[in-house]
Amino acid sequence: MDGILLQILNGLDKGSAYAMIALGLTLIFGTLGVVNFAHGALFMIGAFCAVSLQRLLGLSFETLDPTKKDFLGNPLKVKTPYIESWFGPEMGASIIDWSVPLAILFSIPIMLFVGWAMERGLIKHFYKRPHADQILVTFGLAIVMQEIIKHYYGANPIPTSAPSAFKGSLDFGVMLGFDPNVIIYPYWRLVYFAFSAAVITAVFSFLNFTTFGMVVRAGMADRETVGLLGINIDRRFTIMFGIAAAVAGLAGVMYAPINSPNYHMGMDFLVLSFVVVVVGGMGSLRGAVAAGFLLGVLESFASMNWIKDVIPGIDQIIIYLVAILILLTRPRGLMGRKGVMED
């Protein structure tokens, strides 16, 4: 029982990452109709916003400490972050400690800019081009972004820690009447869950409570005609792209403390996020979010030992198996709209 409860928590948590990545992707892919292979790269850039801010805050000057020796036997260079020397060690240290949450603010303008630049500079010429061309150009772009990051940050994962206030775990079990220390869950993962719920809600309300969503949907179905109605669809597409990039970036920023970011983390998530979006159904935000959570939970269940004992290797293929089953029983995924990328 408690095992299952924990796996549900795990699943929801995994699902919230999937859902948030898929949400951003579905804005571009399901709504604007661009097969965006660079979406993973946007997620990765988000995570590296957190890394960069951490580095930026940690910028240090060096002093020589003759009492200690470095690995070559020379006097050790001791680094002191500028922040600590400006704000005093305590205050400075706590600013550095909070670099990931700060990075949220830091990343929004950056991601909006990246999205804007990407759309205006490249994607806008590709709305009418075949999907194949979109794949090639966005894949190329993803590689370039990755390589740039790799060049500056290397290929290894870079530890990025959550504020120390969020270290440790919440004892859920006690609240539900279990023994202590049975059902515990890390604070940061709970924060991630809450954060993604907030982002998802925000995006939903923006698209549902304004006509923006309808206009963009219409623009995707038929750009020309929407233009005939006096609507500047290009601008809205750009905005949409910016939002999508920001959502992807935020997903990345918050993910950084969960798993240390590396330059190819986007590629790791890329295939999965396409699967989630398509299983959710093309053009459906709700579908993408639902599929994200569904796959997250099922993946967690599949990794339970007794299930693995019954079907060996099930956790390796569960996502794909479920995707196949869903797509075969429901022609357009969970809630797909008709006519979106069906040809």
Binding site: H131, A132, V137, G140, V278, Q316, Y320, A323, P331
Partner: protein
């Protein structure tokens, strides 16, 4: 000739010539020049050109003609390789057993996967094929290790049965005694040309594969496939059943992939699970698009370019750069090398990324379009377009005169 019209015959002859002369054509720089780095006329790479050419030609029959974008063709590649290596293990090193098996088995798998996946179209189809291939990859990497030897890759061990193995038989892949990895080297002045058995074996099969695909493109069957891409609804109301056509195309292209996989194992007796990963499926998609979707030569060109970059650019290191730019003044040399380093050696991915973007931005029809533009520049405008063998199915309907 061979059921082709004059234009296509000429085209085929050119292809045959280019394929057979590859060992010479790809070795343009003398050994001692610093540009020898760019020579690609060594057996392994030439074999790869031919093999991935076959893979891409087959993929194009599905994607180029019907527009169905499979993201799981690497699964068939893997199945082909495993079949061949298993034949080595069970029978002997003669590739004659494995290759037909590779084609048949991958055809059967394609039949099953295609039958299921083709119930959907568009992106839903792509994801179904992707899911099948990823499942195959993940299982091959772990649970199916007894069959696939997992991460290490399937290979021949001395204690394998090899029941047909004769005492004097070569211990590496061969065709009735013609050993694949044997080559004849010819030195001509400062040039060395390598004529490799394996390459010619692949090349002949590639030419046949190309010929078959040419026939398919020109056949009523090919016309139906293009019609499916254009308007499936109309096709149905014309009394044609789209399903068996797409399925046939899927199976044929799956068999091409299986053949390619089989040939990979015929050149190099090892079959790794990574051959089935989505990146491998993605690679053939990229090859086809880069070269030109739906054209005859495009996918082969795309395959060549991608494999060339992977094998040649990745090997250019700092030392090589220094040898090229050593004549520059020091500060300038430093700068040039600093820039160049981003694009070669460990930065070769960057070059391919940039190339993908440039091609798709400036040559919307892929590399073939680049070729056509160059040709058009020579034929002073209005030259006989009819001589263009690339029945390029037009994406943008703006070419009516």
């Amino acid at each position: 000739m061979l059921g082709l019209d004059k234009r296509d015959t000429k085209f085929l002859l050119i292809v045959i010539f280019l394929t057979l002369a590859t060992p010479i054509l790809l070795q343009p720089f003398p050994e001692s020049s610093t540009l020898a780095q760019f020579n690609a006329g060594y057996p392994d790479l030439m074999q790869r050109f031919a093999i991935f050419g076959i893979f891409a030609i087959g993929f194009n029959i599905l994607f180029g003609l019907t527009g169905y974008l499979s993201f799981g063709h690497a699964a068939f590649l893997g199945i082909g390789s495993y079949s061949v290596v298993w034949m080595y293990k069970l029978l002997d090193y003669n590739v004659i057993w494995g290759l037909p098996l590779a084609v048949i088995l991958s055809g059967l798998f394609a039949l099953v996967i295609g039958y299921v996946s083709l119930r959907r179209s568009g992106i839903y189809f792509s994801i179904l094929t992707l899911a099948f291939a990823q499942m195959s990859f993940n299982l091959a990497y772990s649970v199916l290790t007894p069959i696939t030897n997992g991460e290490t890759g399937l290979q021949v061990y001395t204690d394998d049965p090899q029941i047909l193995m004769g005492a004097t038989e070569p211990t590496s892949p061969h065709l009735f005694g013609i050993v694949m990895n044997q080559s004849a080297k010819i030195n001509l002045g400062d040039w060395v040309f390598t004529f490799n058995n394996g390459y010619y074996f692949c090349a002949i099969i590639a030419i046949i594969a190309f010929y078959i695909s040419l026939r398919i493109f020109r056949s009523p069957f090919g016309l139906m496939l293009r019609a499916i891409k254009s308007n499936q609804q109309r096709l149905n109301y014309t009394g044609l059943n789209a399903r068996p056509y797409t399925l046939a195309a899927f199976v044929i292209s799956g068999m091409y992939a299986g053949l390619a996989g089989g040939l990979m194992a015929s050149m190099d007796p090892l079959a790794g699970a990574e051959r089935m990963q989505w990146t491998a499926s993605g690679e053939v998609v990229l090859m086809t698009i880069l070269g030109g979707v739906g054209t005859m030569m495009g996918p082969v060109l795309g395959a060549g370019v991608i494999k060339y970059m992977e094998n040649i650019f990745s090997k250019i290191n700092e030392q090589v750069l220094h040898s090229w730019f050593g004549w520059l003044p020091d500060s300038l040399e430093g700068f040039v090398i600093f820039i160049a380093e981003h694009f070669v050696g460990s930065g070769w991915h960057m070059t391919s990324g940039v190339l993908f973007m440039l091609v798709v931005i400036f040559l919307p029809g892929g590399l073939v379009e680049g070729g056509q533009r160059i040709k058009a520049m020579f034929n002073n405008r209005g030259g006989d377009d009819a001589d263009d063998p690339e029945h390029h199915p037009k994406h943008a309907p703006h070419v009516a005169e």
